[in-house]
């Protein structure tokens, strides 16, 4: 039986530094799965291997029966994997609307030479454009971004920029969403909203979520299962209680 998402014996080294060593885990469809671990444990490296920014040194990654290693990032995003970044990767000189609209890019007509969803206002919008803009409006409503719609994202506060990035990832209509420290830099109120959104993303849209997060309160609140990493190796994988009470995890965090 091939599962939804599986990583087997994944390794990645940079010169002599082994960032990830022989890491295996599975994520089930519809799960919120969190990866925890101290700084430098290799969490973001795992994400970079999943969406093709890094070429792993060894191992395999499969998503719905399809091998990901060797595919380009744009091909992987077309398979239905989206992500956000720890340090925001937005199109800084475009509006919120345009940033999220770019997430629709891979659903626009297949030919690169097709006239895009930006017809001249005088010609009237095309059917395709109306459909895409409709999806974008739904996401803007869902994430409460109405006030920021036409603002350049570089002018938005940090917390809002993170939400725009989340919106762009949602616009690609992924089946698997990778969130890299989504709560970092958010205030208490924004963090609480984020918890609801992540739950809604799973419950309403049926999107599976893999989360990297340092805020243990948030992690224990929303995760179905956890994976703890240290020095690029798996400490333990299992239910929230199992992992946070595991002696190795307590040692890695405290000692």
């Amino acid at each position: 039986m091939s599962s939804f998402f599986t990583i087997q014996h994944l390794s990645k080294s940079f010169g002599g530094v082994k960032a990830v060593q022989n890491l295996s885990f599975t994520v089930n469809k519809g799960e919120i799965f969190s990866i925890i671990g101290p700084n430098g444990a290799g969490k973001s490296t795992v994400f970079n291997c999943i969406n093709g920014l890094y070429k792993p040194t060894g191992g395999s990654i499969s998503f719905q029966g399809e091998a990901l290693i060797g595919k380009r990032p744009d091909q992987i995003s077309r398979l239905g994997i989206a992500r956000t970044f720890q340090n925001l990767e937005l199109f800084a000189h475009m509006s919120t609307m345009d940033n999220i609209l770019l997430g629709r890019h891979l659903h626009m007509k297949s030919s690169l030479f097709a006239i895009a969803a930006r017809c001249h206002p005088r010609m009237g919008p095309s059917k395709e454009e109306i459909a895409h803009r409709g999806r974008v409006e739904e996401i803007i409503d869902f994430l409460d971004l109405q006030a920021a719609r036409n603002t350049f994202v570089s002018a938005l506060p940090y917390g809002q920029q993170k939400i725009v990035e989340l919106g762009r990832a949602l616009a690609t209509e992924p089946q698997l969403l990778l969130l890299d420290e989504p709560a970092a830099g958010l205030n208490q109120e924004e963090r609480e909203e984020l918890v609801f959104w992540i739950k809604d993303i799973r419950d309403q849209f049926g999107i599976t979520v893999i989360l990297i997060e340092h805020n243990m309160q948030l992690v224990t609140q929303i995760s179905d299962r956890l994976l703890a990493l240290n020095f690029g190796q798996k400490l333990v994988e299992g239910s929230v209680e199992e992992v946070i009470n595991h002696p190795e995890v307590i040692r890695a965090y405290l000692g």
């Binding site: 969406n51 093709g52 920014l53 380009r72 990032p73 744009d74 995003s77 077309r78 989206a82 992500r83 970044f85 990767e89 937005l90 199109f91 800084a92 000189h93 475009m94 770019l102 997430g103 890019h105 891979l106 626009m108 007509k109 030919s111 690169l112 030479f113 097709a114 006239i115 895009a116 969803a117 930006r118 017809c119 001249h120 570089s154 762009r168 690609t172």
Partner: protein, 291 residues
Amino acid sequence: MLSQLLIGGIVVGSVYALMGLAMSITYKASEIANFAQGEMAMISTYVTFVLLGAAGWPFWLAFIGALVFAFLLGVILEFVFIRRAKEPNALNFIIITIGFQLLLYGLAGWKWGSDQRRLDLPFSEQEILFDMGGVIVTELNLATLVLALLIMGALYLFLTYTKLGLAMKASQQNHMAARMNGIPANRILAISFGLSSVVGAIAGLLVAPITTLDPSMMWDPLLKGFAAAVLGGMKSLPGVVIGGFLLGIIENLFGFYVSLEFKSVVAFLIIVLILFFKPSGLFGKHYVRKV
């Protein structure tokens, strides 16, 4: 006399503007100033010459053939040379493009020699279209201006309203995020180099009948185009076009009223002044990248 100088300035300015646009397209896409741009245009112009002469193609077919060649040449530069660079910085890219420039220059010298040749376009330099009280517009003048304006218009529509244009804009602003959103950003960069080479080749085709066809024919237009781009703002395409026209006019007026010997130096004087007073160019917005 003044209106005659203005017309001459606008015509030559349209060629500078095209060269500036060619530089600006790749610069916007990758922050690479492509010093091989001129030689790429020169080679493409030679290809037109061969297609017209030895192969005996009709003009418009040869014209399109040369543009296809120019596109491929740009893609080759990106795919074979630029993409292979590991963790490159601005200096590496300058060296790579200068290397490519010398390679093409050598090739042209070896294949066609350094003789000055004539490239015959179907527009004549002698044919006078208008003569309004001594102000003369030749067929070649008009064709140059019209063709340049057409290309600029087409480029604007392409970049603003097509999916590929949007993908280029996205890749320019954030290469990694573009890839993450299903845009094959490396392929987009190769297409940007191809497109820039096409625009440069058209500039080459318009320069050749005014001057001559020889391996170093594009040195001056390249530097002027670069100056025009700096004047208008490297990252603002409308700015580059205005910069090109302004430079053409200023140069022509300077050459007549001040000094013909120093006409070519004006461009560099402008670069120095612009870098001094408004480094991002007249129409460029200066973005500070947040860390």
